[in-house]
């Protein structure tokens, strides 16, 4: 499964790295204080922040994982990009962004502090900081392993070099540099993967040819012939589609709880919108990001589906590496397709696209970690602002720079821990993925119900998280061999697939967090006055005046456009 690169491929890669670091170097002179470094000076145009918004999410694990899922589940994977993203992004833009941006909070934990109290902020900030470092370590580990297996690069070398490049440009230019590079990365990912989609589709005889080649494979697996090219048609029952999930699990679990938890509260993502130049630009950020998001399935899922056809056709000579138990490792789908179709030159471009996707994910983690650590942990508990704005700005800039280095070093440590204790890292990651669902409940109630109190929010977050943990400890997917997958207390219920277990964990965490927050809010008294909450709560904030621009440039008009494209795609691939 080795892939041979030639001088031209390396040259393309090097030119890309020169530009990546060059952008950081160019932005260095603008980094005069913490505000410029950690918040990009709130100066980004909507389209730049919008593309960065989507690019941060388009990490290497996403690109590799989703094309692998395309091979396993077919077009059903597009649910993660359509119903599992678009409604949440529209909701964030129209209903939540006015309060996030208008509150002047510099981070999600800081929003919790302004809306609720110090302890709620502390809980969220600490969990977020740990989760971010872990996530970036795990993706570094995955990338280094991939490069070792496929390109033969030594593990340590690819780990340190890629970390060093990300460190260079985030150290020099902070969040602005991360955002600018994410835009560059977005285009290189699209252009780098484009020839793969066109060539592989041509090889199987276009969309019609793909459908007819998939029919016998679907039938052999016991499904309807068109199961791999449709999204909702066979979601009536869990056992009639390869994802093993029925429509209500997809609709409520993925489309509501998981996606709203992720897109509306994950600071990694919403930080890009916080950096926009004004509130209307901030509201347009998720909507501008939503447009490319809806088309990414054609770039990464469709090649994955084609890989399924190639895999079942011996004449195509397409193989995937096998794991210890003899099952194909689906995460390698995209890279094996690159090997299958791309000659030297465009191959270098494709590999550069994968490296770029990895870097955008990692830089996103580092810049978010930076802001939360500097403002919410260091600036709140270790050295509070002195009141002298200029001196504070310089001091926190300095802290932010050091935090960048520390953040990258911690991620490298996490990557090495993952090489030794892979299971523990998987487990921690599963646990931390449980933070977002209760967080959404707490932030949503905070924005739209003025009675919600600080004690209630803190308990909602904590109990929501603990109940997710309990659910994970009491249930397991069928055939789970390690306790990492769940059932580490005892197995009371078995789910047909892991995804169903994840959906239900999120649904339970979110519902319990809501009940607890509402219940405790009724019996406790709010400490913040109505005046304190102006700009943070819907009923206490004056309505926003829409800009005097053509309808399609307004957030509401843009939301209609996004909604229509979403509906058309859903119907086309029903």
């Amino acid at each position: 499964m080795r892939l041979e690169l030639t001088w031209i491929d390396y040259l393309i890669m090097i030119i890309y790295f020169v530009f990546v670091i060059g952008i950081g170097w160019f932005l260095k002179k603008y980094m005069k204080n913490a505000n410029a470094f950690l918040e990009a000076g709130r100066s980004m145009p909507a389209w730049v922040a919008g593309l960065a918004f989507i690019s941060t999410n388009l990490g290497a694990l996403e690109v590799m994982g989703m094309s692998g899922s395309g091979m396993k589940y077919g077009m059903l994977t597009a649910h993660f990009f359509w119903v599992g993203a678009i409604p949440a992004m529209i909701f964030l833009a129209l209903f939540m962004m006015p309060f996030y941006y208008g509150s002047k909070a510099r981070s999600v934990p800081e929003f919790l502090k302004l809306r609720y109290d110090e302890k709620t902020r502390a809980l969220n900030a600490i969990l977020f900081a740990v989760m971010t470092v872990l996530a970036s370590g795990i993706s570094m580990y995955a990338l280094a392993i991939l490069m070792e297996n496929v390109l033969g690069w030594p593990f340590d070398l690819s780990l340190w070099i890629s970390a060093l490049i990300v460190l260079c440009y985030t150290y020099l230019g902070g969040l602005s540099s991360a955002i600018y590079n994410e835009v560059l990365q977005f285009f290189i990912i699209v252009i780098g993967l484009l020839p793969l989609v066109v060539l592989s589709l041509q090889d199987v005889g276009g969309w019609a040819g793909l459908k007819s080649s998939l029919a016998p494979i679907a039938t052999a697996n016991g499904y309807a012939p068109d199961v791999y090219t449709t999204t909702w048609s066979h979601a009536g029952q869990a056992n009639t589609n390869p994802m093993g999930t029925a429509w209500y699990g997809i609709f409520f679990g993925l489309g509501f709880v998981l996606s709203f938890g992720y897109w509306c509260t994950n600071f990694l993502i919403v930080q890009r919108a916080f950096a926009a130049e004004n509130v209307n630009a901030a509201r347009k950020v998720p909507l501008i990001g939503a447009i490319p998001k809806m088309f990414i399935p054609f770039l990464i899922i469709v090649p994955g589906i084609i890989a399924l056809v190639l895999f079942n056709d011996p004449s195509k000579n397409f193989t995937l590496p096998l794991d210890a138990s003899g099952k194909p490792i689906y995460d390698y789908t995209i890279i094996m397709l690159l090997k299958q179709y791309l000659p030297a030159g465009v191959l270098g471009l494709g590999i550069t696209a994968l490296l770029a996707s990895f870097m955008s994910g990692m830089a996103g983690n580092v810049s978010a970690f930076n802001t939360v650590w500097t403002y919410d942990i260091y600036g709140s508990y270790i050295r509070k602002p002195t009141g002298n704005e200029e001196a504070d700005g310089k001091h926190y800039l300095h802290v932010g720079r050091i935090t960048t280095i520390v953040g990258v070093l911690l991620s490298i440590c996490a990557a090495y821990i993952a090489t030794k204790f892979g299971n523990i890292m998987d487990f921690l990651q599963t646990i931390f993925s449980m933070i977002n669902a209760p967080l959404f409940a707490v932030i949503f109630l905070g924005m739209f119900w003025k009675r919600t109190t600080g004690h209630a929010a803190f308990s909602g977050l904590l109990i929501g998280f603990l109940s997710a943990l309990l659910h994970h400890g009491l249930t397991a997917p069928v055939g789970a061999t390690t306790l990492v997958k769940g059932g580490w207390i005892t197995v009371l219920h078995t789910y047909p697939v892991e995804m169903a277990q994840n959906f239900w964990t999120a649904i339970i965490a979110c519902s319990i967090a809501t009940l607890v927050t509402v219940g405790i809010s009724i019996v406790t008294k709010r400490k913040k006055s109505d005046a304190d909450l102006k700009g943070l709560v819907y009923s206490l904030t004056p309505r926003l005046v829409e800009e005097n621009v053509p309808w399609y440039q307004r957030p509401s008009g843009l939301a209609v456009i996004v909604g229509v494209i979403f509906l058309v795609l859903t119907i086309m691939f029903w």
């Binding site: 393309i12 835009v183 252009i191 179709y341 030297a344």
Partner: protein, 66 residues
Amino acid sequence: MVDIRIPIGFMFSILGVLITVFGLTTISDTEMYVKSLGTNVNIIMGLLMLVFGLVMLYFAWKKKKA
């Protein structure tokens, strides 16, 4: 701050020229392009990137002038 279209424009123009030239020099190498179903993808992608890069630079230049 810097207009992001400038570095994007330059990078894609440079890569576009590089990949197009590489495609032209390998034009007779049919064996190399068996993988890509006989198409010289380097020339096509190279030109596409060059056009994209120039369009980006054009918009950056237009904005600067205005």
